[in-house]
Amino acid sequence: MEKFTAITSSAIPLPVENIDTDQIIPARFLKAVERKGFGENLFRDWRSDENNRLKPDFVLNNPQYEGSILVAGKNFGIGSSREHAAWALYDSGFRVVVSSFFGDIFKNNALNNGLLPVQVTEHFVQLLLQQISKDPHTKVTVDLHHQLICVPSTLSIEPFKINEYKKTCLLNGYDDIDYLLTLKDKIEQYEKTSEYIHLTRTT
């Protein structure tokens, strides 16, 4: 995957709680067999009406807001495990999603695709939203190496947690699969010695 080290960008506010992956990318757009092209259907049913007209009050249709950072209400990415949700966000230019809570499966999918889920306090999310509301061009910096998110113009800053191994993968662009493939011998050894494995074999 693409490396992620640090990013400075204006941010797009989406202060809705419990955003599920059906909203991020509706099921009827999951029929493609490639990883690309999902960006055009990001938040499709929030962006456009049934006649494909853009809804003027949806933030992604408002030219005032642009950037690679999405600031979302808590519990982002719940529901279906579709990795297409992470692909749609990435394809649309997002590299960071900031929220105070994430759905587990979405969080893993994002991390596997160079899209950084930044979990901060709800207080900090509200602070960001206030600042963006005052000035839609507010620049936000996310530094993975130091695990910090800040707004340079106001010096609002907060640390965020991330697993060391996942951090290394993102900083270097490593995929889990490459790591797993180095363990083939260990895997075969496990298969030979596991007590229970013969009972799970399908005939």
Partner: protein, 459 residues
């Protein structure tokens, strides 16, 4: 200190440790379907890798398929391509695929258990969040993304951080007209849509252990709807009786060895869990959802709660108001199906409610059996005739209107009482308004043409 069932299974599957948080977990069984596998196969081939353990992989086409005229080529071009891609990929990699028309074809989480491919003590994954269903057999079963599907293809392993443990006890006895579906909707309404995120849930207690395997699958299926990684129930005599003689279950000497091992799969009395909840089955009413995520559920006779504007967006979408009752609300659509409730016991339950009755004229009611085997069983038991006489359509297996990926969509603005698992905005079609309920409740609503308490019909 004793171990939980979850810890016993997890530690038996660790191949290596990456760091103190992440383990390399061996995956016993891998289910795949047409929507979340194509990019994984493509990734494998791009890197010149092969599927490492094809015999531990089982495929079906379920999300995208029509539920009528499955013997004809799929009309939708993209759906047809995607299903064809699965057929090609399975052929190239030696993976068993039960395609449309095969006697074992069906929804992935219905066919695994009914074939005995799902067995206790396993780690099981699939590119689908309702993989938690298989936990009913005492498994660590969970949904994964397409990149992880590719990892399992290549190495039969995944990198996973170990979740915390939560036990949900349900004691007592269910009232008449109240089902396993109502139990899980009740639990989610109490725990909330993110309340189990970071946890693996174990369901225990008298009301749980009384459940049949199909009922246990309904409960475990919706574990993801409270954010849990998965949910499991310790295997017992009910589990063993279900599995005996299933096509892929162990046979002969292996059967007794398997039962001896499975009998060791329980949480020790002195095990400590990270979180614990207790509920009484007697408190559970027939449940119904009013909002746009599964925790927005109430008892059938209760009013929609007033959360002081917190639910404003949801209620606006559903065109409902705080303080209003869902009972007696006219509905035009009823969908009975999905990996939550489409097994033979669900169809029997529906048949009992509608026998000798007819659906309301204005209602479109369709029943999608979870698999060909379920459909055949329903025909054999004479249940199909009961459905047809009542004006319900019995179709062919697939995920169908649970997520409206095929033609089975609920029109804009319409209410659909559905036995599925998600009521998100637009889930069943753009602008569709989903009301989640049990098969008993859904059947009763189809007869009445409005939302009613099933106990008015069955007492």
């Amino acid at each position: 200190m004793g171990k939980t069932l979850f810890e016993k299974i997890w530690s038996a599957h660790i191949v290596a440790k990456v760091d103190e948080n992440i383990d390399v977990l061996y995956i016993d069984k891998h289910f795949i379907h047409e929507v979340t596998s194509p990019q994984a196969f493509a990734g494998l081939e791009r890197k010149n890798n092969k599927v490492f353990r094809p015999k531990q992989t089982l495929a079906t086409a379920d999300h995208n398929v029509p539920t009528k005229d499955q013997h004809l080529p799929i009309a939708d071009n993209l759906s047809r391509s995607q299903v064809n891609a699965l057929t090609e990929n399975c052929k190239n990699h030696g993976i068993t695929l039960y395609e449309l028309g095969h006697p074992y074809h069906g929804i992935v989480h219905v066919i695994g258990p009914e074939l005995g491919f799902t067995l206790p003590g396993m780690t099981i994954v699939c590119g689908d969040s309702h993989t938690s269903t298989h936990g009913a057999f005492g498994n660590i079963a969970f949904g994964i993304g397409t990149s992880e599907v590719e990892q399992v293809f290549a190495t039969q392993c995944l990198l996973q951080s170990k979740p915390k443990t939560m036990r949900i006890n349900v004691e007592g006895k269910l009232k008449k007209g109240v089902t396993a579906k109502d139990i899980i909707l009740y639990i989610i309404s109490k725990i909330s849509v993110g309340g189990a995120t970071g946890y693996f849930v174990e369901y225990a207690g008298e009301a749980i252990t009384r459940l049949s395997m199909e009922e246990r699958m309904t409960v475990c299926n919706m574990s993801i709807e409270m954010g849990a990684r998965g949910g499991l129930i310790a295997p017992d005599e009910i589990t063993f009786a279900y599995l005996k003689d299933k096509p892929f279950a162990p046979k002969g000497d292996q059967w007794q060895q398997a039962v001896d091992y499975w009998s060791s799969l329980y949480t020790d009395n002195d095990a400590v869990l990270n979180k614990e909840f207790s509920f009484s089955a007697e408190d559970v009413e027939p449940m119904i959802t009013y909002g746009t995520n599964p925790d927005m559920a109430i008892g059938i006779n209760d009013p929609i709660p007033d959360k002081k504007g917190k639910d404003a967006r949801s209620l606006q979408y559903m065109n409902l108001e705080a303080g209003a009752f869902l009972k007696n609300k006219k509905i035009n659509w009823v969908f009975i199906g999905s990996c939550t409730n489409s097994r033979i016991e669900d169809l029997r339950a529906v048949a009992e409610v509608i026998r000798g009755r007819k659906k309301a004229d204005h209602v479109s009611a369709f029943i999608i059996p979870g698999s060909s085997q379920v459909r055949e069983q329903a025909k054999k038991e004479g249940i199909e005739k009961i459905f047809i006489d009542a004006g319900f359509e019995l179709r062919e297996p697939g995920c169908s209107a649970c997520l409206g990926m095929n033609e089975d969509k609920v029109p804009q603005g319409e209410y659909c009482v559905s036995t599925s698992n998600r009521n998100f905005e637009g889930r069943q079609g753009p602008g569709a308004r989903t009301i989640l309920a049990s098969p008993l409740t859904a059947a009763a609503c189809a007869i009445a043409g409005k939302i009613i308490d099933v106990r008015e019909l069955i007492n």
